[in-house]
């Protein structure tokens, strides 16, 4: 079990619904790293995460978690992973104390002292009904539960959505601490690319159920760029080099995927670094090629 290379291995994952198909998704989350799973609303992030957690059955493909098959070894795996959702999945009438009592019977490695110390760190009351918690407090409670049973993998579906910048920063710090242990890994889906840019080691982009790009964040940021040019210069750029282009009355912003090559091919053109958000935006419009 300790000898796995990737915390998550997904190969050819396919799932069909009415009106939406998750199609041939393949990526790995290396052990000891944070993978940012990026896509706009309805791209298929939650569907992918649900398939990983065996909440929905995939039509095709294989998934391995911590080196084990996600269906055959499901119970074993779920003892060692935690899932965090965008909304707190606990009854409003529970208190943090109730959750401690419930979860300590469910998880073999539940650490009540660790849970208590997380509650203190987050300044969460033990006896207050969680229905009265703020959104930030609810997310912190969920994270406290996730980190209190020695899990090796955190799978999170938009955990920072709707939180203010202070709380988001606090939560990202916790994830940075968690990943200090090289046996810990995180898969975090979000459409807030700023958070993933701060924290992730690798990223995977998904749109309309298809994988757009997957790799190390620094490599992707290093290789991608935006050429800003006038209409005349835009015509000189080969379509093979263009991911997509945003046109305006004055010129174009062109996303390219190989900055080094394009600097040689198009000297004199202004080439800016791209952010993850811009990369997502341009890749989402890849089929259109030109957009406004």
């Amino acid at each position: 079990m300790i000898g796995y290379k990737n915390a998550i291995e997904i190969e050819g994952l396919t799932k069909k619904f009415d009106g939406f198909t998750l199609s041939d998704i393949s990526f790995n989350v290396p052990r000891g790293s944070i993978m940012g799973f990026i896509g706009q609303n309805g791209a298929g992030k939650t569907t992918t995460i649900k398939a990983i957690l065996n909440i929905i059955k995939a039509d095709k493909g294989s998934i391995k978690i911590l080196g084990e098959d996600h269906i055959k070894d499901e119970i074993d795996i779920k003892e060692r992973i935690s899932a965090v959702f965008d909304e707190l999945p606990f009854h409003d009438d529970f208190t943090a104390k109730n959750l401690d009592v419930i979860l300590r019977h469910i998880y073999e490695n539940w650490d009540k002292n660790e849970f208590a110390s997380m509650l203190d760190r987050f300044a969460l009351p033990r006896n207050k009904k969680i229905g009265k918690f703020s959104k930030g407090m609810k997310m912190k409670l969920q994270i406290a539960c996730a980190l209190s049973h020695k899990s090796e993998l955190l799978i999170m579906d938009e955990p920072t959505t709707g939180l203010d910048p202070v709380v988001r920063n606090e939560i990202l710090d916790i994830f940075r601490e968690y990943i200090q242990d090289e046996n810990h890994s995180i898969l975090m889906s979000s459409h807030i690319t700023g958070d993933l840019e701060k924290i992730s080691d690798s990223v995977t982009f998904i749109d309309k159920g298809r994988l757009l790009i997957s790799g190390y964040k620094d490599d992707i940021l290093e290789s991608h760029g935006i050429i800003k040019c006038g209409k005349e210069d835009y015509k000189k750029i080969s379509s093979e080099d263009i991911i997509s282009a945003r046109l305006s009355d004055f010129g174009a912003e062109v996303m390219i995927s190989d900055k080094v090559e394009c600097r040689e091919k198009y000297p004199g053109l202004v080439m800016d670094n791209a952010t993850l958000e811009e990369i997502m935006l341009f890749y989402v419009n890849e089929e259109k090629k030109e957009w406004k």
Binding site: P89, H91, I102, I106
Partner: protein
């Protein structure tokens, strides 16, 4: 089993208010019915002329009904899907088999508790009214408890399937109405026939005829099945378990 303890505690935490309210309601009804029975010998009803002690049987069955209904459990909280606990449960290290056992266990324990409570309360109410706790009463209460168990298992299965207590109840009511309408049509038809065939009979005599026609056969079926109660419970448990496991495994397809 330790893992199930966590979910049992979860259920108890959520139901404690309802259990307390149910307990209070049952207690009120029990005291009321016992008081009516005691009144036949020591109260106002003792002074009433020709009061039919047979009416006290209604007090016995009222207590039974409340005992069976106040503590019923469908194996999970109705809020599980609303708050997404159901989604969270899928991420826990619990197999569908264990979850099915838990749900059935909760339904069965609530049912057995209610059954024992209804027997005890009915016996006390009978004693208060100096009625015999007859074999008929015992069989009726057992049949009611069994019917309640079957109903709750079916409702729980529908809730797992539809993930919405309102949808589940609507489906159950639809099935009930589909069965109820033809049965009522047959009953009403027979009532009319009896009324036409025997217009000279008093209402009480017509009621006696109806009782012979419908209630007596039902009672005969009840008495015939009574020795097999434990077997029927076992069969419902096995079928319920297999159905629950199948439905839980379907997850969110």
């Amino acid at each position: 089993m330790n893992k199930l303890k966590g979910l049992v505690l979860k259920d108890l935490y959520l139901r404690r208010k309802n259990l307390i309210l149910g307990g209070l309601l049952f207690l009120m009804v029990f005291i009321l019915c016992s008081s009516v029975c005691l009144s036949c010998d020591y109260g106002n009803l003792a002074r009433a002329e020709n009061y039919d002690r047979g009416n006290l049987t209604m007090m016995v069955y009222t207590v039974t009904t409340f005992a069976l209904m106040c503590f019923v459990s469908n194996g999970s909280s109705t809020g599980d899907n609303k708050c997404r606990w159901q989604l969270f449960e899928y991420t826990l290290p619990l197999s569908p088999e264990k979850i099915a056992i838990l749900r059935l266990g909760l339904i069965l324990s609530a049912n057995i508790f209610s059954y024992i409570l209804s027997l005890t309360a009915s016996a006390i109410v009978c004693a208060c009214g100096r009625l015999d706790f007859t074999r008929d009463m015992f069989e009726n209460i057992t049949a009611a408890a069994l019917c309640m168990f079957i109903f709750t298992v079916i409702l729980s299965a529908l809730m797992i399937k539809y993930k919405d207590p309102q949808k589940a109840s609507a489906h159950l009511m639809t099935v009930f109405v589909i069965i109820y309408i033809p049965v009522m049509a047959i009953v009403m038809n027979r009532v009319n026939e009896i009324g036409k065939a025997h217009p000279d009979l008093f209402d009480e005599q017509q009621e006696e005829l109806l009782k012979e026609m419908f209630l007596d056969p039902l009672m005969n079926v009840r008495s015939a099945l009574f020795p097999f109660t434990v077997l029927i419970y076992a069969a419902v448990i096995v079928c319920g378990y297999l159905l629950f496991v199948k439905l839980i495994k379907r997850r969110e397809n």
